[in-house]
């Protein structure tokens, strides 16, 4: 019991932080900086606590007498918890500047962000479909509100509306699938579903497959795969920068937290079917995402489009799981981490600039940026290179592992398409680099603005490079292979099926 409480403590800290922030947001005297500080404080506490628990808890059910087997704690969920917490911390730190320049932020914003992190953490622990659904909705509804947080902006409200309507529509498929599974199996525990299929390989099998497909629809919607992508670009554009960053990097990881668990356990018997579906979705996502990305003029929309392409790469790896690529699942986790670093950095720079007086939104606004702000331009270049998968950045290794697993599982066509799409992506990423470096500007060169935001961005840039070259070169500093090893361990911790 005591152990359970300890294990649940990070979750509790986050939700407690959310409530505290909600309560004190009624005092008008508290400054935004303090809210930010409090939120970061709670998140860091939870992060540190979680870090100490990373390895020493393998497959424990949280409060089993009370919740039955609804919440599981294993390395996989712990790793994802760490990623969510890190994502939230980084988001808050990078946008310190941004918040202070906007008058519509208040304590509730931070409270909602923490609630959303709480939902994601629950999601990674969920071992039961209705729990997963509720966690997903806690995270999503918080994000809905955050997207429309700027009440004065028409775009922000419209983005929220788009997201909430389509999000609600898509979640119904998840719960519909859950209902069907409940009808067939009589239980919604992930393990029970697995053993049901194991024991009754023919009974009502089609119904189960359809149910799983419905669940997959929701997941594909949340990660923005074509043809469920239509919301992505508009919502990313309308949302405030911090939230775009949060959605692109952290929320997407959360969706994979539940999907990987489901896919590795419940889909096991239907890999031959779902791999085919995923292959088709991956192909249209890669192509469609590229088309969307190359035709954008607004930088935020371009990054949104490219995030669809990145979802496509992840789908390649997902379909490889079913075809026997041993390393595909850790590759997904590693890819998510790498995408997290680069995307947070890229959006971070955009929000950092947006916090200043002059707004930059389109590609053309970035002409000659390197002369005005050489260091930021250099870091932006690093992030773009990493997103494009350029060697010596972490993005390259991530893509490399994905293509490797695709080839290992015999999906040469998908690997080829992925590489082609990576070439196409150079078009829109390097367009920005070229504009930054090869055009003159009238602006005066500005000094490098030292501060929390810029240092965190700098750290991200360093990590991006470090992840691309470092393989334990410096003693005591974990290299990229440590990350990969951790990802492998995490996947192994769910692959053991103790049912």
């Amino acid at each position: 019991m005591i152990e359970d409480i300890l294990l649940a403590l990070p979750l509790a800290i986050v939700v407690l932080g959310a409530i505290v922030l909600m309560l004190i947001s009624h005092f008008p005297t508290v400054s935004l900086k303090k809210y930010n500080l409090i939120a970061v404080f709670f998140l860091v506490c939870a992060f540190i606590l979680k870090l100490t628990q990373l390895d020493d808890s393998n497959h424990i059910y949280l409060f089993e007498p009370l919740f039955n087997k609804m919440f599981v704690i294993d390395t996989f969920s712990n790793l994802f918890d760490l990623l969510f917490l890190a994502g939230a911390i980084v988001t808050l730190l990078i946008n310190t500047h941004y918040f202070q320049e906007r008058d519509y932020y208040n304590g509730e914003f931070f409270s909602l962000l923490l609630f959303s992190v709480f939902g994601m953490m629950m999601l990674s622990h969920a071992n039961e479909l209705v729990t997963a659904f509720i966690s997903l909705e806690i995270a999503s509804i918080s994000v809905y509100i955050l997207v429309g947080y700027n009440k004065n902006s028409l775009k922000s409200s419209e983005a929220m509306l788009t997201y909430i309507v389509l999000g609600a529509l898509s979640s119904t498929f998840f719960i519909l699938g859950t209902a069907l599974i409940y009808g067939v199996v009589g239980s919604t525990f992930i393990g029970d579903i697995y053993s049901f299929i194991q024991n009754n390989p023919t009974k009502e099998i089609t119904m189960l497959i359809v149910a799983l497909m419905f669940i997959m629809v929701t997941i594909l919607f949340k990660i923005g795969a074509v043809p469920f992508h239509s919301w992505v670009i508009d919502v990313y554009q309308g949302a405030p920068y911090p939230i775009t960053m949060f959605m692109a990097a952290t929320f997407k990881i959360a969706v994979f937290a539940i999907f990987l668990r489901l896919y590795l356990i419940d889909f096991t018997h239907f890999y031959d079917i779902f791999s085919k579906i995923l292959q088709v979705v991956a192909v249209v996502t890669l192509i469609g995402g590229s088309w969307l990305a190359i035709s954008q003029n607004n930088l935020k929309r371009m990054l949104a489009g490219s995030s669809i392409v990145h979802a496509g790469y992840l789908l390649i790896a997902l379909s490889s799981i079913g075809l026997g690529a041993e390393f595909a699942a850790p590759a997904i986790v590693f890819y998510l981490m790498s995408y997290f670093l680069s995307a947070v950095g890229a959006f971070g720079i955009l929000s950092f600039i947006a916090a200043q007086r002059r707004r930059r939104a389109t590609f053309d606004d970035f002409k000659g940026f390197s002369q005005e702000r050489p260091y930021l331009a250099a870091m932006m270049t690093i992030f773009m290179l990493s997103l494009a998968g350029f060697p010596s950045t972490i993005g390259f290794l991530a893509k490399f592992y994905i293509f490797l697993s695709a080839i290992e599982s015999g999906q040469i066509f998908l690997a080829g398409l992925g590489i082609t799409v990576a070439f196409i992506s150079i078009y829109y990423y390097f367009k920005l680099i070229a504009l930054m470096y090869f055009y003159p500007t009238d602006e005066e060169p500005k000094k490098f603005p030292f501060g929390i935001s810029s240092s965190v961005i700098f750290l991200m840039a360093l990590l991006t490079i470090w992840g691309g070259v470092g393989t334990g070169w410096i003693p005591f500093l974990p290299g990229v292979d440590t990350l990969v090893e951790t990802a492998k361990e995490a996947i192994n911790s769910i692959s053991v099926k103790p049912y």
């Binding site: 629809v217 043809p227 239509s230 088309w291 969307l292 190359i294 035709s295």
Partner: protein, 631 residues
Amino acid sequence: MSTLLLLVVFLPFLSALVLGLTYLFDTHKRVNEKFYTILGVAVPILVTILSFVIVLDLMSHSSTTVVTAVAFNWLSIDSFHIDLAFVADPLSAVMISFITFIGTLIHIYAAAYMSSDQGFGKFFSYFNLFLGSMLLLVLASNPIIMFIGWELVGLVSYLLIGFYNKEYENVTAANKAFIVNRVGDFGFIIGLGILFVAMGDNGFTFADIKENIYAIDNHTLTLVGIFLFIGAMGKSAQIPLYVWLPDAMAGPTPVSALIHAATMVTAGVYMVARFSFLYNEIPQVGEFIAIIGVSSALFAAIIASYQSDIKKILAYSTMSQLGYMFVAVGLGAYSAGIFHVFTHAFFKALLFMGAGAVIIALHHEQNIFKMGSLKKALPLVYITMFIATLAISGIPPFAGFFSKDAILNHAFMSEHYTIWVLGVITAFLTAFYMFRMLFIVFVADMKNNHIEHKALSKALTYPLIVLAIGATFAGFLGANEAYGGSDLFKSFISLNDINYSISHSTEYMLGFVNVLVSLLGVTLAYKYFRTSPQEPLPNKRVRTLIINKFYVDELYDRLFVQNLRSLSNFFNKTVDEKLIDGFINNVVHLNLYVASKFTSLQNGKIQHYSIYLLSGVSMMSLLLIYILEVR
């Protein structure tokens, strides 16, 4: 010991980094030259001391002991590891000791030579980087790390040849050196690749390769040996990849002394000696190497006899001496080859530094025919260079005699008489052209020597004395029994030499022949150039042919450069522009068109979006039905 070994390699890199960063961030030139000098010279001194400690340590043990040091695991794939590891066995210990020693002297010399140069800090950063790279190359415990050092020295050589990068010619020379070396390196890496595949899972350190060499069949080994030697050809300037070396003299003279005479160019010889166990398996390739070596030696000696640029003469003589070394290692006399590397380092560095002193004294004049009777003005330089010239010409008891003698004797004893004859002719030419240079520069009365002489600083001249001592006595280390020595050098580095027993009388006879031809060369040079220099060989055709270096540069230009250029033009204008670009442009336009159509679906209307979503669900369902039906 292994910590010391790590320090030996990493200290120069570290100081190169510090110097480089200081130079880079010191945009207002506030940092004094003193700083660069102290750091840039102190590190080589320290490294020299460390290397001597290592050598002494190795000497005190039996010949099979080695010092190893693992810096870190560089990459590991399953059970296969490549460590960044270093090994100091007698061979590499000898190499590092003279590399660091001569390197230190040249660093000191360079501090004076380069003083008040704009890029002083940059120069020392590169120089230290070179030292580190060379040590990395020599000490590497596996071919991969060796290749890294191999490439790094090539890079530094490129950087230093083009050190005065404001002048177009220097940049061209640097490019030439880099490109020609690339051709060689390509061979080298192919060789390594084949060897790697052949080795399989048996590890890839030199020790592993040595153990498992018998498991590899002879044809593969032949291929490996030839490709590795192509790498050596490029780095050590042998026919046909020598063309870069004379042009490399565009760099500052200390660079020529250190990199293009004493150390880097001998890397090829070292590599062959390092792979001696491999080359012993394939004597036919060894013969090929020896033939290339002796032809290079003769060819370079002929060209050197007609050069008028002091540094070019020395460059060709370097190539010629390298040819000797390849004769030795090709015929299995690895220790003789390395011994010649060792002695050559002393006298060639000395010659270059002396030439540099002359050049400095005459305000950057390099044409020997504009010098003359410098004997009185620069007595110290004259004496030291005289010693070096005696050494390179193979006059006993100077260093060059013993090493050259060992090589030629080996050629004779292994019954490669043609090679021996050519070697002896080269020895004659060597004495001739070296004394020709010496007489013209220092003794002959040229009538046009009213150029004012600049006083030379001590840092320029003292290293010359040290090297002169080395050039005089270094040979005794390897003197064999016939000359009263005990072959210390050979027994210390203990390579897998092919040995022939040789009687003392034959030994004396051969030595006598060598001395005789050398003296003949000296006499000839004396006759023609002692007083008023004029070229012998009245045949004008032959003369122009030789002065123009047999038109090899022009031939290469015709054969490779121009053909390549027209081919490139064809690809550029026709294939690339019309075919590939046209194709790509069309694809891009098509893509952009489709993309704009696809994006126009993105119209911001929520209800349209929900229809897309539901049609997506329907399509997925249809797909599912299809798949289930097929199943």
